[in-house]
Amino acid sequence: MNTHRIAIAAFASIVVILSPWAFAQSTSFDIEVGYQSVDVNGNEDMYRTQVNQDDGVVLRRLSVNFVDPTGGAGLVDRLRLDASGFGGSPAGRFRLDVGLGAAYRLSLFYQQIDTYSALPAYANPMVDDGIVPGQHTWDRTRELLDLRFELLPGEALTPIIGYRWNRYDGPGLTTYSVGNDEFRIASDLEETEKEFYLGLAFTTNRIQGTVLQGWREFTGRTRDRLAAGESIGNDPGTTLGQEITLDSFDRSTRTDADTPVTTVHLTGKVTENARLVASYVRSDADGDTRMSELLSGSLASFQISRFFSGLDQTVEGRTENPSWRGELRFDWDINHNLGLKLGYEARDRQLEGWTIISSLYADTLNFGGFDPQDISTLVEAKTGYERKESIARVRFDVRDLGPVALWAEYAVDDQNLDVSADVAQIVLPEGQEGEFDRKISSYSAGGSVHLGDVKVLLDVASQNADDIVMRTDFNDRLRLRGRVDWSIGHILRLLFTAESIEVDNYDTGVGYDSTTDRYAVDLTVTPTDTFTLRGSYDTYSTDTKVPIRVPQTFEITSAVYAEDGEMLEGGLMWKISIFTLDAAYSTFENNGSFPFQLDRTSARLALDLTKSIAIAGEYENWDYSESSFPVADYDADRWGLFVRWRR
């Protein structure tokens, strides 16, 4: 029995065991379930990539709530179950919390997500030939399970035991560059991460803390084969007069990683007004990879300067990746109006990678067509890095100065990166190894003012760095944010937010600049309990410019990226007698480097049959269009009929 089945069996057992409480008279529940039908005109792949709703039964909502104030119900005095999305929706989630006073608490979370991607133009070298979708597509499922049990929660000592499980699997198509061409391959993968942990939480009058020790295990299995009808490859031409084809291809890869993880969190009360908080996390990942690949065809390699008709390659790899991070913080309320916080955080991550790549090229000929022989190569590659970072910060808070509150913070972030690359990785000398240092100073301040029904918030953050590591790092960064929130009772609420971020990099040979501005206004009017009108406007613009070196000419040119987006949304909720109408329309238009428009319309009409039972009809439309590439467009309708029962 595999882990998945164990999880489902455990889930079913828990539901059965808890069903007496779930259906007890004192239990409230709320369930909405129905059927939906989806009709897509246009590019269904794009619809599935973006939305991925499907025909079928959908569990819109399930909530069960049970609380027994007297504790007379035996093993359970509280139960909370929530589920949604299972069925025709692309993702479903389930959460269960049960407990008995201070005796125990059990929580279980399960999530299933269908992931689909088949983009027509993105990363598609064949799009100019009218071949869509692109070469990288997948239709996979991700499942997550998180189980945690606490004995004597909130008591002086609380033992904790937990289990996490994450699986990603399913088919996909990708590419493989071999023999001087790229070929499309079918890739089936199954990747599972499991973690078992146990530990202890403790509470005294002065100290609270948690210590957890976990053991994480990752297993990845990938089987790649040549996709049907894809032996020609992307390049229909020849290499040095020889046609390049791949006749067969089979690769198996297995990766295992074991990682013990230690987590410690402590909070100590120094005085009534001062607190010390400490945390420490350490993990030591240890990974192994084995790959075997066998292929045949008519291929060429410039690495060995030969044509070849077969390749038998094996790879054995090993990685060690210890890392830790620690934090110490001191919070002191000096008096009612003034607070001081001091913090220090340090992180360290190291990696050592070691790989042996053994290749046997069969039936090779030199580029003149002579000297037949099998050629064997052996590459031993070693890589490594250490990344260290320490952050120190000090912050003052000033509270209750009439309607005003203020804060100011200063932080220094020291970064150090030491990388060693293997010669097999070096493309051109420089830029791929060495030691890099960077120090960032951050000044930030903000405040809020409460004046009757109006709340105003402003904050500013200025950062400057003495150097950069990546070309996208900043030398200077300035962020301004503001918010005005005005309410008139429950009748009206007006919210305005604004944010501006300016990033500047004046490092010689880089010159990276980016500006982002966004403004949003949101208005909700509720003149009566039965009617709500809402509208919002959101505008977003970003301009990024970075000089790049064109590989084929080594000329310097600029890559420019712009977003100029606007979103307008409006909706209403109107309850008349036993009818409730909820309708909304939104349009999002981007006129930047990648122009498109996405309009969404939705309406839901619910009819209360009784105080606890209602039926609802739903309609939703998604209309997506790209002005520069209409092949991607779609227009999708979703109709649904749902029943809701509450008690």
Binding site: N65, P69, G71, R80, R93, R95, L119, Y122, A123, N124, P125, H136, L144, Y168, T175, E182, E193, G199, L200, T204, Q213, F218, T253, T259, V261, T263, R275, S283, A285, G287, V315, G317, W324, D331, K341, L351, G353, T355, T383, Y385, R387, A424, Q425, V427, L428, G431, I468, R471, R483, L495, G509, V510, Y512, S536, D538, I548, A559, Y561, G565, F596
Partner: protein
């Protein structure tokens, strides 16, 4: 360190036992719920269905938060004569029992900066059909109330999709203050919240790329939703890659593509046609598989 861990666990347990002090006493209150129910019948009935409703066994009662309210009752229910917690006063009250939040909410929370108090999101007098954790609305709707720009970001066509059963704002952010910037959560091993779901991207990889070396997931992706496919920061693959893989002489970290990468050919404009393992590889130094 691995071998020290059990010792550490036992050691801290021993220290805690040595203190021998019981945990925080449950908030004791005189249960006047029946008196309160005389006027507030529905509120008291609903309260019994919340986690706070286990008053018989030490849970909070009306008195715990509102005081005895004798004058309030004597003088016909005058609302000015009873304690109605809010803002800082309300926060302090909640933290009397929810002590863990004291450490979190006080320091790293943007909500603390913005004078958001517990009652802005949680409805203590929750109805029978309340959201989990006594939230006043669904978690996503609550966040949208004050973060319209972020809500707008999710209207972009690529990236995480809210409201379809999968993602919630709180999947990545901790409203009580996460350990990362922007109240982001980190996972149990101190890594970004992204890896909680995208576990296969964690590695370790013998040939790593970007994440954990010199950047992170956000070096290439926009998590809230993007105008670009794959939730990337640029619409074209080559432009994204060349952001870093250019001008090696500037002393920055990142290689320069060799000259046979002729960008006039679509084969080379789409870097990931060959370099498919952009999140790292254990088998190919050049991230080809």
């Amino acid at each position: 360190m691995k071998h020290l861990t059990p010792i550490l666990v036992v050691g801290i347990a021993a220290v805690a036992l040595a203190f021998g002090v019981p945990g925080p006493a449950a908030a004791q209150g005189l249960d006047l719920s029946e008196d309160c129910a005389t006027c507030h019948e529905e509120v008291v009935a609903d309260f019994q269905h919340t986690i706070h409703g286990i008053a018989d066994r030490g849970g909070p009662t009306c008195v715990t938060c509102h005081g005895r309210g004798t004058r309030h009752m004597d003088e016909g229910g005058d609302p000015t004569l009873i304690r109605i917690p809010s803002d800082d006063d309300g926060d302090q009250l909640c933290r009397t029992c929810h002590q863990n939040l004291s450490a979190m909410f006080s320091s790293r929370s943007v909500h603390a900066d913005a004078s958001v108090w517990c009652g802005d999101c949680h409805n203590i007098h929750s109805s029978r059909h309340a959201e989990p954790a006594l939230l006043a609305e669904s978690a996503n709707d609550l966040c949208a109330r004050c973060h319209p720009s972020e809500t707008g970001s999710f209207a972009k066509p690529f990236g995480h999709e809210l409201n379809l059963g999968g993602m919630q704002c709180v999947s990545c952010h901790d409203p009580h203050a996460g350990s990362g910037g922007s109240s982001l959560k980190i996972d149990r091993s101190g890594e970004p919240a992204c890896l909680t779901c995208h576990a296969e991207k964690r590695g370790p990889f013998a040939f790593p790329h970007v994440a954990n070396v010199a950047g992170d997931c956000l070096s290439c992706h926009e998590p809230h939703g993007s105008t670009n496919p794959m939730a990337l920061t640029w619409p074209r693959v080559d432009q994204l890659c060349l952001e870093c893989h250019s001008l090696a002489e500037a002393g920055t970290f990142g290689s320069q593509p060799p000259s046979f990468h002729d960008l006039r050919s679509p084969r080379y404009r789409n870097c990931t046609t060959c370099h498919i393992a952009v999140h790292g590889s254990n088998t190919s130094p050049l991230l080809l598989k």
